[in-house]
């Protein structure tokens, strides 16, 4: 038994992908944890910002939504959606967006809108929000997913946010100047995208997870041959996450 939860591992694994100086577009939930812990542990010069316009808040208490008053306090600047999305897409910034989704396909395109038909679906989700914009405009995107066959699908019910589209150079040909998903962080491991084809493969499994488990829980064919075991969370990482970032365990549960 490990001394940490899957949620903790996910937040830390995603946070490790952040570089110092990055500009982090955080949503609610896990993405808030990942951005915050990265900044506190190894990327002190990273900036966390929110689509609502809060830029670099003090985050003494964890916001539960991107419009939470806690994203407006101690900030460098309080602005609005227009300014936030301008920053997200700014060509000179390494903006990293953290997204979640209901479905993902082999090229990292995601669905957060509906299951079934449109506009009258079987299940309605909240919709794009800023996800489509982040996936279109950010320097890179990190996606959180629960690893289930029904979520990793060959064909999305609705393509809300563009990933590598049909793979290869299709994203670039479609007119996007940069971006694309960097990684998919799940409760089993970390998926990345092949250099040329841009198809998803298993890059890392968490300690105690077998690569085959990932294949079984993925609804499309996935290369698990290159998987290495992810590094266990460090003491300092866990301490920061638990004591500084989410002491009330509002998101960690």
């Amino acid at each position: 038994m490990s001394n940490y939860t899957k949620k903790e591992m996910m937040a830390l694994a995603a946070g490790r992908l952040v570089r110092n100086g990055d500009v982090l577009f955080a949503g609610t939930g896990l993405s808030m944890l990942a951005a915050t812990v990265a900044k506190r542990v190894h990327a002190p010069d990273a900036t966390v910002f929110f689509e609502t316009g809060g830029i670099d808040p003090s985050l003494e208490e964890l916001p539960l939504a991107v419009a939470d008053p806690r994203v407006m306090v101690g900030t460098a600047m309080n602005s609005g959606l227009i300014e936030a999305f301008s920053i997200l897409g700014h060509r000179r910034l390494r903006s990293i967006a953290f997204l979640g989704a209901a479905q993902i396909d082999p090229y990292g395109n995601i669905n957060s809108t509906v299951l079934g038909g449109y506009p009258k679906p079987k299940v309605r989700f909240p919709g794009s929000g800023g996800a489509c914009d982040a996936a279109s405009l950010a320097h890179a995107v990190i996606i959180f997913m629960q690893h289930e066959r029904r979520r990793f699908v060959e064909q999305l019910d609705y393509l809300t946010s563009p990933g590598w589209l049909q793979g290869g150079d299709s994203r670039q040909r479609a007119g996007f100047k940069r971006g694309g998903p960097l990684a998919v962080v799940t409760n089993l491991g970390i998926m990345k995208f092949e250099e040329e084809t841009k198809r998803m493969y298993l890059a890392e499994v968490y300690p105690g997870v077998a690569p085959e488990q990932v294949a079984e829980n993925t609804g499309f064919e996935v290369d698990i041959s290159r998987a290495v075991v992810a590094q266990d969370p460090g003491e300092d990482e866990l301490y920061t996450l638990r004591e500084k970032v989410d002491p009330q365990r509002l998101i960690l549960g």
């Binding site: 609610t28 939930g29 689509e51 609502t52 316009g53 809060g54 003494e60 208490e61 539960l64 939504a65 991107v66 419009a67 939470d68 008053p69 806690r70 994203v71 407006m72 306090v73 309080n78 602005s79 609005g80 959606l81 227009i82 999305f85 897409g89 809108t113 509906v114 449109y118 506009p119 009258k120 679906p121 079987k122 299940v123 309605r124 989700f125 909240p126 919709g127 794009s128 929000g129 800023g130 996800a131 489509c132 914009d133 279109s136 405009l137 609705y158 393509l159 809300t160 946010s161 563009p162 589209l165 479609a174 007119g175 996007f176 100047k177 009330q248 509002l250 998101i251």
Partner: protein, 325 residues
């Protein structure tokens, strides 16, 4: 100058504002974002007034939108996101209405909707962006083609064209401007001269207000002219863009109003528990919208204890250490 600009003609009750500026079928831009500064008191008044066929245009909206949809006031919606964070990852009555097909809906992204409001605010016909190329936001239409161009329904959801400043093949999305009939917003301060000041994040409230034909502002406090004009860098809207000012303390409850009060986790959880079933939602409406004889009566039902629980720390602007589980 401006000594004679007073609020006299603009100050009114929520009921008067709804009566005067929100007819059935109106296209409405809701201010706020998910759990903050929703124009809740006006939303409750709209329900009490029995408005029908409203046409909401929203970026990311939560509590006010869900209440209006649940109460059957809304028939058409353009939206990017419906949710209130962990209280309702997807807005409850919104979700049900879409799944039942009782709501005409068109999906955009947050930036797309914000740009559409900004275009309306600046008097521009459309905005051009690459955000959303190759997605179903672009490919799938929610509204019936036969309704296109009728009333405020745009003639096209969007258009994809070549960028005339680049070589061929460089495609961009054109998004039609939004010019709502009414914008509703909740502000902390309105000056005696009608100037509006929002504290904390503005979201897209100002673009929405500038884009609209009419603007209804509910506010926590009316403040002296000398105060609001001492540092005009901080102000949000000039008097001549505001049609109705409705002083309503705690007017955004159960959503937050920065420096005044936090969102109310207990009430939002109560809503989350009651709203999923039709009976539960009806009961919620009865108790919290239809029965209260006034806004003060509504607040009485919430109770002083809960109001004080969420009262904002004067420096931080939110309720420090509030139990939000």
């Amino acid at each position: 100058m401006g000594e004679d600009n007073t609020l006299t003609d603009k100050i009114m009750t929520a009921a008067q504002a709804v009566e005067r500026f929100i007819p059935d079928g109106a296209q409405i831009a809701l201010g706020g974002f998910t759990v903050t500064r929703n124009p809740m008191a006006i939303a409750r008044e709209i329900i009490r007034a029995g408005r029908k066929d409203l046409y909401l245009v929203c970026h990311s909206h939560g509590q006010a939108m869900d209440l209006l949809i649940g109460a059957g006031c809304v028939s058409r919606l353009e939206i990017a996101y419906g949710g209130t964070g962990r209280f309702a990852p997807t807005c409850i009555r919104f979700r049900q209405a879409v799944q039942k097909g009782t709501l005409k809906i068109e999906d955009y992204s947050n930036y797309q909707m914000s740009l559409r409001f900004l275009a309306g605010a600046m008097g521009l016909p459309f905005m051009a962006t690459k955000s959303g190329l190759e997605t179903d936001l672009v490919r799938k239409q929610g509204f019936d083609p036969a309704e296109r161009g009728q009333g405020k329904v745009p003639s096209k959801k969007l258009a994809i064209v070549e960028n005339p400043f680049n070589g061929p093949g460089d495609r961009v999305i054109l998004l039609p401007a939004l010019t709502p009939d009414v914008a509703l917003l909740h502000a902390q301060y309105v000056g005696e001269d009608g100037t509006v000041r929002i504290k904390g994040l503005g979201f897209a409230d100002l673009e929405q207000a500038r884009a609209a034909d009419r603007v209804i502002v509910t506010c926590e406090d009316i403040v002296p002219r000398e105060f609001i004009r001492l540092d005009p860098d901080q102000n949000s809207l000039p008097p001549f863009l505001v049609d109705a000012v409705v002083p309503l303390k705690w007017g955004a409850h159960p959503t937050a109003c920065h420096y005044y009060y936090d969102y109310d986790p207990r009430h939002l959880k109560l809503y989350g528990d009651m709203a999923p079933s039709d009976d539960g939602f009806r009961e919620y409406l009865e108790k919290w919208v239809l029965e209260p004889e006034s806004h003060e009566d509504y607040l009485d039902r919430i109770g002083v204890k809960d109001l004080l629980r969420i009262k904002a720390d004067p420096v931080l602007g939110y309720a420090k250490g509030l139990d939000r589980r």
